[in-house]
């Protein structure tokens, strides 16, 4: 029987199962295969708690979602078209998100009485009609892999564990993805354990063939490759992209990279990634806490490395005092905050954009600092590179805001040519630069930047510190006029960065009725919503800030070109507060604080509300 192939533009798939079911891995493999096909895509993992909860419980459900398409894809999708549910708990937790009429692939073997009860189902939803309105494929996955692997030397537990590969195989068939890359990958991963590799491959193929052969499936879907710019691509998470951006900046500046960090969800992968790069001369220092993380980085910066510290909300809070030290000593430093839900420990594995005000103004005294935010996983690379460049150019700490959604989510990254990445020119004074009266550690260049003199350089011996310093000489000073001067210089240094910010890009017309202004990871959802509005003929444009401190110099003018401004944020209105202050005008806000990103439709609705 020849099966129907329907061409679609995009699809959103969610894999859900028990924490032990390997859903993150399954999702990642599907993602790689999809990337290789040439679709654009975005992914997002979703796991509820850091500890592995008991098997089969709602708390133990782990999920992975991706959206892929033949056009540019800006988000991992709002509601999935297809849900893979490896057990009753997974179905319970995720069913509410499934699109109306969506497809469910369930491992019916897992729908035992015990599991059903644990998940809070009164009866078996696969059987009692409660899934009416969905297309349900109830498949005995455990049994099928058991049969297919009858003769393998794996234990029955080992065999059972391959069922995720079965599901993956079905999905590969359903969405016409190649299985070879995963085959290869499995062989590599289980190099030492070929029978495990082969078992998994068999399971996957069994799933694929199951789709191809059995009659329950009548249709598969094709998604043409996207019209992405020419070049080499790989899939990348925001956290890995940050790590790469920093390494790239270090190399382009001829510096060694030093990371002082303390593990914290969802930022730890930056530390993990960088700790594998010893052969790139990367020094990772897992400090005793976040304070020591940033303090060691400040020390490394003083001693001449490109220094970085990475963290999330509670850790950022702990770094507050030391950030002040970096500001007053005017040392280059990149501070990465992969934001998560709060306050306090809050929702560690959930995303939020709510550390903006903390970044911009959240410390004692007038202590301005440049702050930029990445808009998608690949953009994390560019932002990290830019943060490092600005830090060294202006001798200042810089805060880079990412979030759990960007950090752990992924998307294709067009691999830049290392040679065409901009060089970062760093000038260190030499012994010859000590004048007659000695070296002046707070002398100023045209950007009011002070020199970066490296300990070990003869003749430039000098002292810095957290007490207010006299301009130029760097002597301790408690003089009133000098304090005003230094406060003003520190503020101006941040404003000077405006000269490095390119003109803002507007998606849509440069003037009109409504400007949707965002920052950070809302970019995708806003983009989709604005696209839909434009398609409906509404006068809506999108502007997305990379720099939130300082604001780009064209911001005010652009805003003046619109009757209304809407700021959607995954917080209670933090950019809005800053912007109302800056523009002294009313601004519409759309705020959610649910530990998850916007759905494009929510922004669309708000646009409609404003435009009436």
């Amino acid at each position: 029987m020849a099966k129907k192939v329907i061409r679609i533009n995009e699809a959103t798939i969610r894999f859900a199962g028990d924490s032990g079911d390997g859903m993150q891995l399954t999702g990642t493999r599907f993602t790689e295969a999809t990337a290789i096909v040439g679709n654009d895509l975005k992914t997002i993992p979703n796991y509820p708690s850091e500890i592995r909860a008991p098997l089969g419980t709602l708390a133990g459900v782990s999920a992975f979602q991706l959206m892929f398409g033949s056009q540019k894809v800006f988000t991992p999708g709002d509601l999935p078209d297809t849900l893979v549910a490896m057990n009753p708990a997974a179905l319970k937790v995720h069913l509410r998100d499934l699109k109306k009429g969506g497809t469910i692939l369930a491992n019916s073997n897992a729908f035992t009485d015990k599991n059903l009860k644990m998940a809070g189902w009164e009866a078996n939803p696969l059987e009692d009609g409660s899934l009416e309105g969905y297309t349900v494929f109830s498949i005995e996955m455990s049994k099928l892999v058991g049969k297919a692997l009858e003769n393998s030397d794996l234990t029955s537990k080992g065999i059972e564990r391959t069922k995720n590969m079965f599901a993956l195989g079905v999905l590969f068939w359903m969405y016409n993805r190649p299985i070879e890359p995963t085959e290869e990958w499995l062989r590599k991963k289980f190099g030492k354990n070929p029978s495990v590799a082969e078992a998994n491959i068999t399971a996957m193929k069994t799933g694929f063939n199951y789709g191809e052969t059995t009659e329950i499936f009548t249709t598969s879907y094709a998604v043409e490759k996207a019209d992405l710019p020419k070049g080499k691509y790989r899939n990348i998470t925001g956290n890995v992209a940050v790590a790469y951006g920093l390494v790239a900046a270090a190399k382009k500046a001829g510096k060694e990279l030093f990371l002082g960090s303390y593990p914290i969800t969802p930022a730890s992968e930056i530390l993990h990634t960088l700790s594998t790069l010893r052969n790139h001369g990367v020094k990772t220092f897992q400090a005793e806490d976040e304070i020591a993380g940033i303090a060691s980085a400040i020390g490394a910066s003083y001693a001449g490395d490109l220094a970085v510290t990475t963290t999330s909300g509670p850790g950022m809070a702990l770094k507050t005092e030391a950030i002040g030290l970096a500001i007053i000593t005017e040392l280059p430093l990149v501070i990465v905050n992969v934001q998560r839900g709060g306050p306090s420990t809050g929702m560690p594995t959930k995303m939020e954009q709510s550390d903006l005000l903390q970044a911009v103004v959240g410390r004692n005294s007038d202590a301005r600092i440049p702050v930029l935010a990445a808009k998608d996983p690949a953009d994390c690379f560019e932002c990290a590179f830019e943060a490092a460049r600005i830090a060294m150019k202006y001798m200042t700490p810089v805060i880079l805001l990412s979030d759990g959604y960007l950090g752990q989510g992924s998307g294709p990254w067009q691999i830049p040519d290392p040679k065409t990445l901009p060089e970062i020119v760093v000038n260190h004074p030499s012994s010859a630069d000590a004048g007659e009266d000695g070296f002046m550690p707070y002398a100023r260049d045209e950007n009011e930047t002070r020199p970066w003199a490296i300990p070990g350089t003869p003749g430039l011996e000098h002292r810095i510190g957290g007490l207010e310093k006299e301009n130029i000489t760097g002597m301790v000073s408690q003089d009133a006029a000098n304090h005003q001067l230094m406060t003003d210089i520190r503020a101006r240094k941040v404003d000077n960065i405006k000269q490095d910010i390119p003109p803002s890009e507007i998606h849509g017309e440069p003037k009109g009725k409504l400007l949707v202004l965002g920052w950070g990871s809302t970019h995708g959802a806003i983009h989709v919503a604005v696209d839909r509005a434009l398609a409906k003929g509404q006068s809506v444009s999108q502007m997305h800030l990379r720099w939130v401190s300082p604001f780009p110099s064209d911001l005010e003018e652009i805003c003046n070109g619109f009757d209304e401004i809407l700021i959607p944020e995954v917080n209670s209105g933090q950019l809005a507060l800053l912007l109302k202050g800056e523009l002294a005008r009313k601004i519409h806000q759309l705020n959610i604080v649910r530990g998850e990103p916007f759905r494009a439709s929510e922004i669309e609705d708000k646009i409609n509300e404003i435009l009436g």
């Binding site: 990337a35 070049g231 001369g281």
Partner: protein, 342 residues
């Protein structure tokens, strides 16, 4: 382990090279002055170039030290000097890094960084000015103040049992621990030299008199007349003898230190012999600290060898590079599954 008499003069440095132009601003009579002078005297002969010294401090009277050393210096924030210094050393392993701290800076707010720096055995030297008081903030008790101490924040006497800083250092697995006295130039210089030469984290506890807020705290050992009977200066391999007449010694009895009179009953060979490398001996000396029936031990209490963090970092970089080759951006960028859009 004990070549402290070999001085390396060939860099032609003198004390003057380490004295900056600005005024020293401690209270007249403060014990810090003597420590500064001995540091400035000792560093020139250590065979380290002046530009390779970096002094990192926290906040406190003592932590102003870097301003008075004409070297690289960083007067940072309260308690964080060991962490900052760790970054300095790892970024630039050539440097001879000194951490200057106080009993408040190093053992109150900074206690954690202190023990972690010691544990990691990063090759740095930590000098703790223990005056048993918060000097800079005008006289509150510190974690080394004795029970009952009447201070601005303990007007009825402190109820906070004190730390013995050197014991904390031992608990943290420190490889070098030494104790010195602000007024004892010889002991200070010996400690400074030994610490500078020790590979790994060195900890020097200096008993320092704060003339303004805690004057006389150490009078029993500061006073030249009473010092010989109250202080025990230990030397590796030598028996533990003290007293104005060098007539008293230390033995171990029932796993406790005990003072004995040399003469009829005990002779020198009954005494404990100091062994810098033995943890039990160090522990025994530390047990004597707050015990008024025993003299207070000074000198190098412990010195053992262990791999340093900074060396291991360099070695690991080398080893991985040897296996994987020096990483390029191409390697890095192409390390995942790559596809091409043509």
């Amino acid at each position: 382990m004990s070549e402290t008499n070999i001085e390396i003069q060939d860099l032609n440095l003198t004390r003057k090279d380490f004295v900056p132009g600005n005024e020293v601003r401690w209270c007249p009579g403060c014990g810090d002055y003597s420590v500064l002078a001995n540091m400035q005297k000792t560093l020139p002969v250590m065979g380290v170039k002046k530009e390779n010294y970096a002094f990192i401090s926290g906040i406190g009277c003592s932590s102003r030290f870097p301003y008075y050393m004409n070297t690289y210096g960083f007067h940072s924030i309260h308690g964080r000097a060991p962490a900052i210094a760790s970054g300095v050393k790892l970024a630039n392993p050539e440097l001879a890094v000194w951490i200057i701290t106080g009993d408040g800076d190093g053992f109150s707010i900074g206690g954690n960084h202190m023990i972690h720096a010691l544990r990691r055995n990063i090759d740095m030297n930590i000098m703790l000015f223990n005056n048993r008081i918060y000097g800079l903030t005008k006289g509150q008790y510190s974690p080394t103040s004795l029970l009952g101490a009447k201070t601005k924040s303990s007007p009825f006497g402190s109820i906070d049992r004190p730390f013995n800083p050197s014991a904390v250092a031992l608990g943290a697995n420190a490889t070098f621990i030494s104790r010195a006295l602000d007024v004892d130039a010889k002991g200070l210089q010996e400690s400074i030299k030994r610490a500078q030469r020790h590979k790994g984290a060195s900890f020097i506890e200096v008993y320092q008199n704060c003339i303004i807020f805690n004057d006389g705290e150490f009078s029993d050992v500061e006073n030249k007349a009473t010092r010989p009977d109250n202080a025990l200066f230990v030397v590796h391999g030598e028996p533990m003898i003290f007293g104005k007449e060098q007539d008293k010694g230390i033995i171990m009895e029932n796993h406790h230190p005990k003072v004995v009179q040399l003469g009829d009953k005990y002779s020198e060979k009954d005494l404990l012999v100091h062994d810098e490398t033995n943890q039990i001996i160090t522990n025994l000396l530390l047990e004597m600290t707050f015990d008024t029936s025993n003299p207070t031990p000074f000198g190098v209490l412990r010195a053992v060898e262990a791999p340093t963090y900074d060396e291991m970092m360099i070695e690991q970089i080398k080893a991985v590079t040897k296996i994987k080759g020096e990483g390029t951006l191409e390697d890095l960028f192409y390390s995942g599954d790559v596809w091409e859009v043509k």
